[in-house]
């Protein structure tokens, strides 16, 4: 029997024993095709999915390599059925290709063609009701013309029927614009450079990096590689400003070259940063700002936080298939399960590095995660017991039994930059009053937010109470303590974002602290269990402490 570090399970998960001497080797061999699902301290779980296998195919791996990796490192015999399935699934990718034919200077111009090496496959997909209308004239037995405008939708539909097409039709160069990285006193970290290279060689796709690992710089690197006008789509205005600041600091771009296209301002410049919100704004039933997408001949489109990409943007993206697209995210997991759309419309995963690895390289701070359990006083337990189910979470998570704990924690970390994060405004205001600090909610003006963030960053104020507006893309590098007092029903993605707040590398190598305060024996604790599971799966050991023992 082989003494490998890997155990292949019949449900297509792979268990990797981390302490095994050949674990690192095995990890590198399986990373291209298996998604890391859980990474607790001893045994990591990877999962083989069709998307993962196709990602591997897109990256140039073949079934032989996958099977070989499994056989080489597996401790027990690999189930035969699984090997067959891997080979079959991978074989499906690339049977269909999207290609461009003809020459730009010929009278007919170029056209888009769906080509196959296997006629029955083409016949099969052309029989699908949703696919037939996307195609045009049948060119020969093995090829059919495709309307260029349907390039994205076709890829989406083909993936749905299990025959993902390889997009070889190439990209337009877009309007050239010189962009360079100003690497004075800093350099792209090796993994950031790998991410940029991986993306550029792949053409389009998604780069997965943990929060705090410098995704903005990967974006900047991609722009420098493209040397073309760029449209950057981000989640909100604050994040847009931060992108702008970062680009000004790290690249040769000047203030005049970067435009902001948001609710407040509508600037279109060689590099334009737009928010998802403004793009999805509807006026009289039509998207009012759709023109932005065609306003310039963009050479690159960057999607920040791909896992939050709203559905209408997917539809718009379907029409942008001729342009290079870079997706940036901390996780490919979407709460709405639209991972397949990300694959077919933005592109396959081009780079991926697990959190713990980057942490180990010293680029993000180690974190100490603690869950503090408070007992509700009898009166509140009674109120909780008789409340309506939809009221319960609010009741439990807003219990004032949490206040002394928040106070105690804040006192313990006096002087350290501390964020208190919560969902309910009343509670946030109450806590802000208790701690004598400022509060940022959705109602706070952008200007005020900016001011507070700046003050926090410079150390002028050490405690800030924030609502979930702070979840995304706000760079608060100096926060070293986060206290979570309530959150959205145990969303894993939210947890990732919040942990990300405190994971930026600290100047003095301090450990970051992440506290979650939950009410015992309530739904609050149930949701907390989900979130902790996520933390543990990311490799962060956490502790549970009773409030009294604090």
């Amino acid at each position: 029997m082989n003494d490998g570090p890997l155990i292949v399970q019949s449900d297509k998960t792979l268990l990797l024993e981390v302490e095994h001497p050949r674990a690192e080797q095995a990890r590198r061999a399986i990373a291209p095709f298996a998604e890391l699902e859980r990474a607790p301290e001893h045994v990591h779980t990877y999962r083989i999915t069709p998307l993962g296998l196709w990602n591997a195919r897109a990256a140039g791996h073949d079934a032989e390599q996958v099977v070989d990796a499994l056989m080489t490192f597996s401790r027990y015999a690999v189930p035969h059925a699984l090997l067959v399935d891997v080979a079959d699934t991978m074989d499906r990718y690339g049977r269909l290709t999207l290609e461009k034919e003809g020459f730009a200077d010929s009278p007919e111009g170029t056209r888009l063609v769906l080509r196959t090496t296997d006629r029955p496959v083409l016949e099969e997909v052309l029989r699908h009701k949703k696919i037939k209308p996307l195609t045009g004239e049948r060119l020969d037995d093995l090829a059919v013309a495709v309307h260029p405008s349907e390039r994205g939708t076709l890829k989406q539909e083909l993936l749905k029927v299990g025959w993902p097409a390889e997009d070889l039709a190439g990209y337009v160069d877009g309007e050239a614009h010189p962009i360079g990285l100003q690497q004075d006193g800093w350099h792209l970290r090796p993994y950031q450079q790998h991410a940029v290279d991986g993306f550029w060689h792949g053409g389009s796709g998604v780069v997965v990096l943990p929060c705090g690992a410098g995704k903005t710089l990967v974006g900047a690197g991609a722009m420098a590689a493209a040397q073309a006008t760029t449209l950057i789509l981000v989640t909100n205005t604050v994040s847009a400003r931060q992108w702008k600041d970062e680009l000004l600091r790290r690249t040769t771009l000047t203030e005049d070259e970067i435009g902001e296209y948001s609710g407040a301002r509508k600037e279109i410049r060689p590099v334009t940063i737009a928010t998802y919100q403004v793009l999805t704004t509807k006026r009289k039933g039509a998207y009012a700002h759709l023109d932005l997408l065609d306003a310039r001949d963009w050479g690159l489109i960057v999607y920040d936080e791909v896992h939050l990409l709203p559905a209408p943007i997917f539809r718009m993206t379907a029409d942008l298939q001729a342009r290079r697209r870079l997706g940036l995210t901390a996780t490919l997991v979407r709460e709405d399960g639209r991972e397949a759309d990300v694959f077919s419309l933005i592109g396959p995963k081009r780079f991926d590095a697990p959190w713990k690895d980057i942490e180990a390289q010293g680029y993000i701070a180690p974190a100490d995660c603690v869950e503090v359990r408070v007992s509700l006083p009898d009166g509140q337990r009674m109120a909780y017991a008789v409340s309506e189910p939809d009221e319960r979470y609010r009741l439990a998570s807003c219990s004032d039994a949490k206040l002394p704990v928040i106070e105690k924690l804040a006192a313990r970390h006096t002087g350290e930059p501390t964020l208190v994060i919560g969902q309910y405004l009343d509670q946030l205001h109450e806590v802000a009053e208790l701690l004598g600090s400022d509060v940022i909610t959705g109602e706070t003006t952008v200007k005020e937010r900016q001011r507070l963030y700046d003050a926090f960053r410079t150390g002028e104020i050490s405690t800030l109470v924030v609502s979930k507006v702070a979840n995304f893309s706000i760079d608060l590098p100096e926060a070293s303590v986060a206290i979570q007092i309530s959150g959205t029903f145990g969303s894993r993605q939210e947890e990732a974002q919040r942990l990300g707040r405190v994971l930026r590398p600290k100047g003095d190598g301090r450990t970051a602290h992440f506290y979650t305060i939950v009410s015992r024996d309530t739904v609050d604790a149930d949701f907390a269990a989900h979130r902790q599971r996520f933390l543990a799966e990311q490799g962060y050991a956490y502790r549970i402490v009773d409030a009294d023992d604090l």
Binding site: V8, Q9, D11, E41, S74, Y76, A77, A541
Partner: protein
Amino acid sequence: MATQSRSLADDIRGRSDAELIDLVLARPDLARPAPADLTSLAARAGTRASVQRAVEALDRGHLQVLEAVVVAGDAADRDSLLRLLGTDDAQTVDGLVQDLWRSALVWRGADGDHVVRTVPEVLGTAVAGLGAPMRELRPSARPEEADPAHIAATIAAAPDDSRAMLERMTWGPALGVLPTASAGRTTARWLIEHHLLVPVSTDRVALPREVGLLLRDGRLHRTTELTPPPIESRQVSLVDAAAGGAASECLTHVDELAAMWGAEPPRVLRAGGVAVRDLRATQTALDLDPDHTAFVVELAYAAGLVADDGEVVPVWAPTSEIDDWSSREAGHRWATLALAWLGSTRAPHLVGRRSTGAGPANALGPDVQWPAIRAIRREVLRELASLEPGGAPAPDSLRERLAWRRPNRAASLLDEAVDAVLREAEWLGVTGRAALSGAGRALLGAGTPSTPDETAAPPVDRVAGAMSPHLPSPVDHILVQADLTAVAPGPLVGGLGSFMRLAADVESRGGATVYRFTPESVRRALDAGWTAADVTETVRRSSRTPVPQPLEYLVSDVARKHGQTRIGGAAAYIRSDDASVLDTMIASRDLAPLRLRRLAPTVLVSSADPRVLVDLLRDNGFAPVHEGLDGAVVHSETPRRRAGSRRRSAGPTVSPVDRALTQALVDGLRAGEATADQRRAADEARPGPRIQAMDPIVTLSLLRDAVADRHGVWIGYSDGHGATTRHLIHPQRVEGGRVRATDESGHEKSFSVHRITGATLES
């Protein structure tokens, strides 16, 4: 070898002992019941039923030769056989004919080979798709019309469209429906007029055998396949390791099935089997696909590990066998399952299929019974065993080989069954990576060709010995992680395995098992009597890694709440604000039978009836009052007694029809049989002649004669139990279907005529 035989019986009488043994081994049905002599052996070998069995067991090569012998006619020479078969491989054909002779489908006379008379009957008229011979279709035909040269000349002269019509019928079926269009009719008429087709009814025509053969260029079959088609295979490595992995997983599945059904056994449907819903629940719990689940369930059943418990409301539950089985070493457990599978006549792949006119077949139901599957299973394994070790067959070529072996089976059913057997063999670990494993070979007993008897099972130990080295060795530790999962990097040793199944939920199976501790699973362990300390300690002891703090917290958190509320039964309570009164009651010796128990300072409970309590307390000088359900005092001035509503007795139990009962029944039958024999013997011993059964009309006239002549008559008379006894009577009159007569003892009696089996005059 007999060369002078004139019949099959002669041939068989002339065979040597060894040849006779070969014959009986080839056709085991001849041996049961044992024939008295060679003549009756020959007679039985010639019966339609026996020949049918023998022909059905033939592979395509033998069948084609047999067909050729039939078509060639009696005492045909070898050249005409070769011509019919379209081959010049005389040696192969001779070998095949010799096989047919050995199994007595062909006998040898002085003039050559003859087929046994019943063989053409069994093959039917359409031998190899050919029609009946000309002289059977048209007795009036002149001999030259069946002459090949004559037919060839006629065909050569036929118009093109007529020849095309003939060609369509060439490879069968040899019966055609006459076209309705007039053009087609003209074409057909030409053929009929020239005796190339023979009308058999108003709208059907047949192609005579001679014409068909000529059209086929004298060959009987389109493709002659005297030797089995080759099985394509490729060499794979790690076969035994893969099989071992699958075997280990299979054992886990059966363990889990037993654990699940032991706790919550599914109902037995009225028609037998497991309900679809229950099977689906099992499937979800085992996390398998439906076919695989059905296989596991049927496997456990075949091995006798689960069964219908035979209760009033019957359920499928693990049998007592399972405890013995579980305690054995893994290889042995596997061998038990594998042998059961090999010998089972149940076809799990039929579960969920719709049979005609019925719903989908239920697992463990009667529709899954398909005896043919056992032979197919063995044949598939035998074909696998015929490959080099490590040879994985291409399924298509294997299906073709099986179709060649069993030309009489419906191809679609056979293909499906072959696929199912291959799949099941892989699940069970009989094959690994599609090639037969060492243990599979041992299972088939491939090493001992001297036991051709299909029912002889290779000993369980030999099979176990072949599998054991390849089963992953059990591990005695787990790896516990902060996300509350525990990974067992191999099959767990028994005790730890059942602890983990109890205290954690299985999340992923395979070479390893991933368990997850949840509040529910920990509570399950506490419910089963474990303490929090025991659980934590067992985990700590078994874990190679430090136990994470959240797990300890989880266990203590669940334990904190576990048993916070307690529930028990009591028939009455005593409450009093004065705790000292209650103290006295508890201390009182006279009240001891009430078994008073203190729940709180002011509350006692007892399992005695409230009324008894009140009476007894009053007798002992207390002054209790009776409290109603709402807590108000119930006054009863005069005691009004009412009988409590009668407790319904448990329904009658039905004792199942088991072995003992059946045995008793059979004993009774035997005893009855013996008595009947004695009575018959006693009856025989009585004086008087034998009475033949005769027509009632004859009997009546004889009785009337006797009345007239005042003659005594012996009659056979069947009594109320159907036994026939003899009586000597003197009939006095015959009327209304009855006979008045005096019997031997002089009493006058009346006999019903319809019960008189026969009569004869007293000599």
